[in-house]
Point group: D2
Chain length 359, copies 4
């Protein structure tokens, strides 16, 4: 049983709590009116000078027992809550947020009669070589992927390489080769783009544009693909927080393009036995926070071929809408990522081990 | 077609390759004999002084075109390969390794008629409160867990807390309370131990001893639990590499105890929306590298309750042998981890969402 | 100029701000009285159930425009500020905090006539081999260190090794050898301790006890060295936040021992060209936050010998009270850390390059 | 004394060592000839197919005791050493490397009579506001910086912001304002560029172009600034390894521009009390590995203003050629980075505390 003296004080606290509550809501009402007027006048809601002045007045008025530092901290929280209220009024919420858009968004990649949909319930597989290297390599790859039931072929014509002396991709001829291979084998074609100046030409050849991990916060590029009118595959930056990753989607959404597939691909940590650390919690959180489809790139997460099947199973179990995986006719001679791509036999085993899970 | 001049040179290279190969293997044979003799004399195989001398002789003998630095680097590789060969001969391999022990090890936790087995194919669930706090809390927890079909109850009597002023656990009375609760409700009892001086008393009360993440490299403690004759639940250090984690098991194994269940619980990264980053690749790799059972602690990985079901599903899909989860009668008032434990209703929903997966 | 309509609303906001301020301070006064009464009754100030009830009442009373979620968030801040106020009243502040203890604490390591003081302005150098290996190695080391002007010799008798098959240290004979060497050459002796059961014996032989990075959160050990009556060298955990590191000192302080030297030694990151990432910001922050001396272990931070001088200079420039460095008669044959210890010639160069900075 | 049986075997090993050495060098000679011929034919030296074939032949020829896996591993090292040899012959070394270019490179930023040189021994200070916001703010900043003795003013016209709704910079009018301010106050002007399409216009207005941390691996942008004919300030990516950072300089160098100043600005880790973890080891290593000047951005490393002086002192002590710091007339109202910029009074104190260190 509570001590009676304490109980009496607590009753008084309860009353003051309600007093504070009513004053807070009175304040919030006034702030709403200010916000509406600012919107009329097209003024920004956030006014740090005004906040400074209010804090100074409060500090002067404060007689304790709360210290002025505490008073400032509490009122900063109150200001922040008030600002959120103003912004909620007239500004759109974050477009990626499931609160703003509760139902799942479907993303459809299509060309002519071909079409694949992410986020509609079916699990989608994207597969193909890291780089587009030669006509022979692409002919083999296209035939093999189509025969394996893959509908979305990846292949890079622009390659982000740590060294300027590494193979940088074939460029436009690579895009042409990718598009031709896709036509020849009834596949859809996903290609990475790295430079704002290349977005238009890439959009002519590819059916889906990819933003790679190193360009995850290349904001100019995000805006450019937002305007390009093609579905976008948005890899998480290798050191992006979940929040930063979702905000990269907001850059694309803010340009009017909601055809975005998010792709978790591992983050950079101290661990050395995998190339990156696959963060499946990020997939679980992204499925809560956003209405956009989310897939998992198991190849770049693992950086090794012997754990791709369990990782892909875990990805689907955690709620991912699909899997991205690299496969090459002859990985040992590939011009990039030659230790982590599956060969055709390995890819067949992968498909068998996964079973009939793909949509 | 290859240029004929290059082809001729390549043929010569092929011949020299075989020459090098034969010399390497001749060397390896001599080294094996040295190794055998050293074993007879109980000498260490590794002799850095001898290596130094050999490197100096080779540097002196070198006439290029390889630089002396390159020669040293290549011979260091050769020495390393030779040393591995010597060590393979007479030393036991790492006991955790699946190469040494291809079949899965089963770990059985038992008391009287009760018994639960990890690693035999069935998926095991460990559940219970973070800390043992009071008789009422444990009575409620025991009854609820037993009614829910849980067989292994966790509960901490020694609590590793960042601050010395946080609740440090009830100590031996906590162990007694845990053991009593387990008896009352036909449960098995898992308890953490943090001090070598407490291992014996903990082993009297608990059916399985846990090493927590902050003691993952407390080698004295690892040896002590290796001698205590109870199954061990071995959490991964929050910044341990996979290799370091497996070597913590080796400490227990080297004391003659192979009843070890490894537990991935997330690693420390820059991400802030989860408490740790769950590393399911580590589970996949551990299942390849070791014969020991591996489970996943979803509670400490997530640090939030809204993604536990997808994480547990992913854990089982990636190949984990079980799941560890915290549940408390009233998480808001818990003396530790009060933001991340499930309440009873939440735990029921978790069990329903998971379906009949447990063994 | 501000719009007159907005100005009028702002005046009203100013008035409500003061209303809220007064109510907050009224509440704080009541809470202080409750706190005083709780102290009388020896009750804890933190009562999560009471908080739950208050939040529910406020949620029920809330009529907007603030959402109930916002109201809960704001009141949680208010509760937290109030709790801080209660705790400030009667609880000691954190003992490590410079707020509680503005002047620098001096830590003196001494034996007989010998003595060295950290934190009194002079810069202190700790040097010596990673492990105590043999009488010859220690005789050489002791003579060399003393001749070089070093006063504090390190040397490990218990070695934390990733693998149970690595050299584990000589144990008590190693402590004896260290103490003998120290006597023979008029040095003070710093030795690591890893097991609560070894603290007493280590305290007999060593003049300062070290807690290593892997035991940074071995709380039982921290308490034990807190009671041992010897100065403590407290390494930062390789994945400890600054806050966690300072709280490890609090464990020692809470046992009544304020003779603590903090030691930054690098944290674990993705970087591979250094063994750890030296975090000199942590030194700068620690010097602000705590009154305890702080030194820097450049050897374990770098894991290579070619950048020790610039790192040591930076450590002193950032405000560290000293430097810790490993030196061995023949690093290539050392039984541990053989790639990162300086040899005698390298150590001489280091002293020359540093110049007359040591106290 | 060594056991005679072991000694006899060791003598044989010494002889085989020399045999292996001679065969390795014979091989290296042949490989050099192949390399010369390939250079004649303009063929790539690296031929993974040829390596595959050689490894297969060796595996077939291997009769132990080395396992085929060991043989493959050893020969891969031999191939790698041989390839290095071939590449050394006719390819330039990495241009950033101090091996290729032992003396320090000086980088001079100039406009008309004004000029500042990095890497010539003097320590350089870059200071200014995070963003260019308004004429008034820039007029105040320019006057203050010039009066304070600063010669290089930073100021962002394009701002990389996590959210698309954050202030994105004024663009070209911002560049104009920056250039005007620089002219008015005899300052040199450093401006960030984020989009390949903006490089030309930025190069018209700014005296030095900055690549920010989020674009550190935006390879298209690196090439574009390499061609722009202006000195480049190259920030380290927040999750770039040291090697990756130096290779970003190689992208600029490979376009013929060696006027590059590297800038360490903290890496992303788990630590929360600083915004990033300043990695001064990276500065020490960069000074060894490269001939380019290196400076330290203390503002973004710390993310707080109370440790800037000790960090700047440490930066100079570790060997940095300068410091980068943000200063704003009224940080509380700044449109970006408003918690970490110094105000004018704070900057004055910083200059006083640093003393007369600047060139």
């Amino acid at each position: 049983m509570t001590d009676p003296q304490i109980q009496a004080l607590r009753d008084q606290v309860d009353a003051v709590n309600v007093e504070i509550l009513q004053a807070l809501n009175k304040r919030a009402g006034l702030v709403e009116q200010i916000g509406a007027r600012q919107t009329e006048l097209a003024q920004s809601h956030f006014d740090p000078k005004r906040e400074s002045e209010m804090l100074e007045k409060l500090t002067n008025a404060n007689q304790g027992p709360f210290s002025s530092a505490t008073v400032r901290a509490l009122f900063k929280e109150i200001f922040k809550a008030s600002l959120d209220l103003e912004e909620k009024q007239d500004k759109p919420k974050l477009k990626y947020s499931r609160k703003a858009h509760p139902q799942d968004t479907s993303v459809t990649v299509s060309r002519g009669d071909l079409s694949v949909t992410f986020g509609g319930g079916a699990k989608v597989l994207i597969a193909g070589p890291c780089s587009i290297e030669s006509e022979a390599q692409m002919a083999q790859s296209g035939a093999f992927l189509a025969a394996s039931g893959v509908k979305l072929m990846r292949g890079g014509a622009y390659k982000p390489r740590t060294s300027p002396y590494g193979f940088q991709g074939l460029g436009v001829p690579g895009l042409e080769l990718g598009a031709k291979t896709a036509r020849d084998h009834q596949l859809l074609f996903v290609a990475e783009v790295m430079d704002t100046r290349d977005v238009d030409v890439a959009a002519q050849y590819a059916d889906m544009l990819q933003i790679g991990t190193r360009n995850a916060q290349n904001f100019a590029l995000l805006k450019a693909v937002g305007k390009a009118g093609k579905p976008v595959l948005l890899k998480r930056g290798m050191s992006s927080t979940m929040e930063e990753w979702l905000l990269t989607a907001e850059y694309v959404l803010s340009e009017g393009n909601d055809q975005i597939v998010l792709c978790e691909r591992g983050i950079r940590t101290f661990e050395k036995w995998t190339r990156n650390t696959l963060d499946l919690s990020a997939v679980a959180v992204a499925k809560l926070e956003t209405h956009l489809p989310v897939i998992v790139d198991v190849t770049h997460a693992a950086g090794r071929t012997d754990i791709l099947t369990p990782l892909a199973k875990a990805a689907l179990a955690v709620g991912a809408d699909g899997v991205h995986i690299e496969v090459h006719p002859d990985p040992a001679t590939a011009l990039s990522d030659n230790q982590q791509q599956l060969d055709f036999a390995g890819f067949k085993r992968f498909l068998e081990d996964m079973g009939p899970v793909w949509g």
